[in-house]
């Protein structure tokens, strides 16, 4: 990776990142809360299961991201799904059964299922 030597180079680099991210817009983005707490609640197992199920369903256009704590300790494991052209949706307390339901109904048919966590915060 080349060094960023000035403010202008930083701006240039950010634009490049944004440009590269544009190709992600038509992909399903799944973020999995994997801080210590999420992992303890079984988050990494859920991640493996999601990848396995996506392969089984032959869904290829997806990105899986490990992220930090989303703040919903009482609802771990927690995942956030962004379908192309949709607002992100967060599901809490997911298990294998829930993942099956989410993939079948939401990922394939775009139908929201029970158990979403409404956004209850503002950010900057």
């Amino acid at each position: 990776m080349k060094k960023i030597n000035s403010y202008d180079e930083l701006i240039k680099h950010k634009k490049e990142i944004e440009k590269n991210k544009r190709s992600e817009l038509n992909k399903i983005i799944i973020k999995i809360s994997l801080a210590t707490c999420g992992i303890a609640a079984g988050g990494s197992h859920i991640k493996d299961y999601i990848i396995k199920r996506l392969e089984e369903e032959n869904i290829k256009e997806y990105i899986i991201k490990d992220v930090g704590c989303m703040g919903y300790c009482y609802l771990e494991p927690t995942i956030e799904i962004t379908l192309p052209g949709y607002q992100p949706v967060v599901y809490g307390n997911v298990d294998e059964h829930k993942i099956d339901e989410i993939i079948e109904k939401y990922l394939i048919n775009h139908e929201i299922v029970d158990g979403i966590i409404p956004i209850n915060y503002e950010t900057i």
Partner: protein
């Protein structure tokens, strides 16, 4: 089947009592009107529990609060069929209770990907600061009103200025990530979720005070935080944000991680510095302050993880933006770790000045199992408890101090009617007794004696003169201990004795524990009117204390009983009660 609209019904904590009836009613009316393209979905908490139950219509983005099952017909017929909003139920105040500044990226970006951070304007604050003069950076932080988030609440800008004014060939920036309060996990979450924000904050601080060396003191028990932070430091070096001549400015800075062994006292800045030097983690008396003589006797600026995570936002958005949030003397937001007997255990970030009621009953979803709220402990073992009468006090550094508690690093442990406050005070004191480094007498001996006095209370052996002794000794320790750990250790005792004097008196006078928590003071008794003589309790009693014939009422021999509660939990007829 694709749906035109979604009807979101909150199915969590308080709303949950009605949610099934509400959802069933809506489904019923939808069926009655032969509507098939609207789906009813159960959701988790909206963070508006006090105004619940909540129903939200999407994509219309209309929130209805205080919805009763009988309101559903109107919602379906008026809104869902005719598209007319039911104005009497609309929840007007759409402003959320939470505001994420420190947690802005936590849970949104990949912490191990520096590009994710740059995309969210990461390292732009650094670039901006490097173009400012050192004093301008410090003035910006001063103007923002940012105060130390580790608990003390010392103005960060002032601290930086002291360090800036020192003449020395070497200065240090230290990030205090030694999070030791029971039930607190704010710093860990920030380091695991957004390590670059802490690195950037340290860089800006290093530039401002004229230091080229940063150290993060963290616990070895946080392996994931250490792993992600190490990766972040490595990436930042590759990009040239750490190292020599950063972004062509001529400023050099690098960061090293130091591991602590997990002693609570090492969160105290002088003990932390001793520990980093390889000495015993014992505090030294102040002055000299670390800003004058700290790590290897050089000027050292110590700030907490959360404080550093605030810095890039202040530089990016400006001090005037930041100081509009919060109260007069406490600006910005605070991250709290909500734990204990509360429905929505979690990590929250709220603007200063929010009330406890909003935190516990809105964001937190109220007390578990519908029990009554009793108290909340803020500031961990150094803080105090706040009670029902404090629920509407706006929370900031000064109001909490005035109430005999403190902000602390942000642990918030909620207690319900089942908790005995004497036992709670004893629990926290036991923690400090364990964690005392033993250097000064008031803390080493005083807290131990104080603990023994509390033990006398919880075992029903105390007299009123012991209660006087407890108060006296607490105040002496407070006034004479060497460091913050000892000075604040009696806080839980003092605040519970002030707020729950009756409970202490009951332990002394009636030799009873009103909450039924203190083992020595409770007795398990079998109600002979309810006991059917099923012998279930006889079979689980580990000390054979229960006797009686089959199908006849049983009795517990109080001399043999060890109060394990096994019989109490086994009885299916509620025939055993605690006294």
């Amino acid at each position: 089947m694709s749906y035109q609209r979604y009807c979101l019904v909150c199915n969590s904590s308080k709303c949950g009592h009605y949610s099934k009836a509400i959802a069933d009613n809506i489904k019923h009316y939808l069926r009655e009107n032969n509507i098939k393209d609207i789906k009813v979905v159960m959701t988790e908490c909206f963070g508006l529990c006090k105004q619940g139950p909540i129903v939200k219509i999407m994509p219309d983005n209309i929130v209805y609060s205080g919805v009763k099952p009988m309101d559903t017909k109107e919602i379906v017929e008026k809104h869902l069929i005719n598209g007319e909003v039911v104005s009497r139920l609309v929840h007007e105040n759409k402003k959320s209770k939470q505001l994420k500044i420190v947690l802005r990226n936590c849970g949104f970006i990949d912490p191990e990907n520096i590009d994710d951070y740059i995309e969210k304007d990461g390292y732009f604050a650094l670039a901006k600061a490097l173009k400012m003069s050192r004093m301008d950076v410090i003035n910006e932080i001063k103007l923002s009103g940012l105060r130390g988030r580790g608990g003390g609440g010392f103005p960060t800008g002032l601290k930086w200025e002291y360090a800036y004014k020192q003449n020395s060939d070497q200065k240090y920036v230290v990030c205090n990530a030694d999070e030791g309060d029971p039930g607190a996990f704010m710093d860990r979450s920030v380091l695991e979720g957004d390590p670059h924000s802490v690195i950037e904050g340290m860089l800006i601080c290093g530039y401002a005070i004229g230091s080229n060396k940063g150290l993060v003191y963290t616990r070895a028990e946080y392996p994931l935080a250490v792993k992600r932070l190490s990766k972040a430091i490595k990436d930042a070096r590759e990009y040239g944000f750490l190292g020599n001549n950063i972004m062509g400015s001529g400023f050099n800075f690098d960061i090293e991680i130091k591991y602590g062994a997990g002693a609570f006292v090492c969160g105290e800045e002088t003990a932390l510095i001793r520990s980093m030097e390889g000495e015993r983690g014992e505090p030294t008396s102040k002055p000299p302050y670390p800003a004058e003589s700290g790590y290897w006797d050089k000027p050292t600026n110590v700030n907490n993880v959360e404080t550093f995570a605030n810095v890039p936002v202040i530089i990016n958005k400006g001090a005037n933006w930041f100081n509009k949030i919060g109260t007069e003397k406490s600006k910005g937001t605070k991250v709290f770790a909500l734990a204990g007997k509360i429905n929505n255990v979690g990590l929250i970030e709220v603007p200063m000045g929010i009330t406890l009621r909003e935190i516990i009953f809105d964001i937190g979803g109220g007390i578990k199992d519908g029990k009554r709220f009793k108290a909340v402990q803020t500031g961990g073992p150094s803080g105090g408890c706040l009670t029902e009468k404090d629920l509407d006090t706006p929370i900031d550094y000064d109001t909490l101090l005035a109430k005999g508690s403190m902000m602390g690093s942000g642990g918030m442990i909620v207690m319900d009617e089942d908790d005995c406050m004497v036992a709670v005070a004893k629990f926290y004191l036991e923690f400090t007794v364990d964690e005392s480094c033993g250097k000064c007498t008031p803390c080493r001996v005083g807290n131990k004696r104080l603990y023994e006095l509390l033990e006398k209370v919880t075992s029903g052996k105390a007299t009123f003169s012991d209660l006087d002794k407890i108060k006296n000794l607490s105040n002496v320790i407070k006034d004479t201990a060497l460091c913050g750990l000892g000075q604040t250790a009696p806080n839980p005792v003092l605040s519970t004795i002030t707020n729950f004097w009756d409970e202490y008196v009951a332990h002394v006078n009636e030799k009873s524990c009103p909450s039924g928590q203190c083992k020595e003071l409770i007795r398990y008794i079998i109600d002979h009117n309810k006991c059917v003589g099923c012998t279930a309790c006889v079979r689980v009693c580990p000390v054979y204390a229960i006797s009686g014939k089959v199908r006849e009422p049983h009795t517990i021999d109080q001399d043999k009983c060890i109060k394990c509660g096994a019989c109490y939990n086994t009885c299916k007829f509620d025939a055993i009660y605690k006294k």
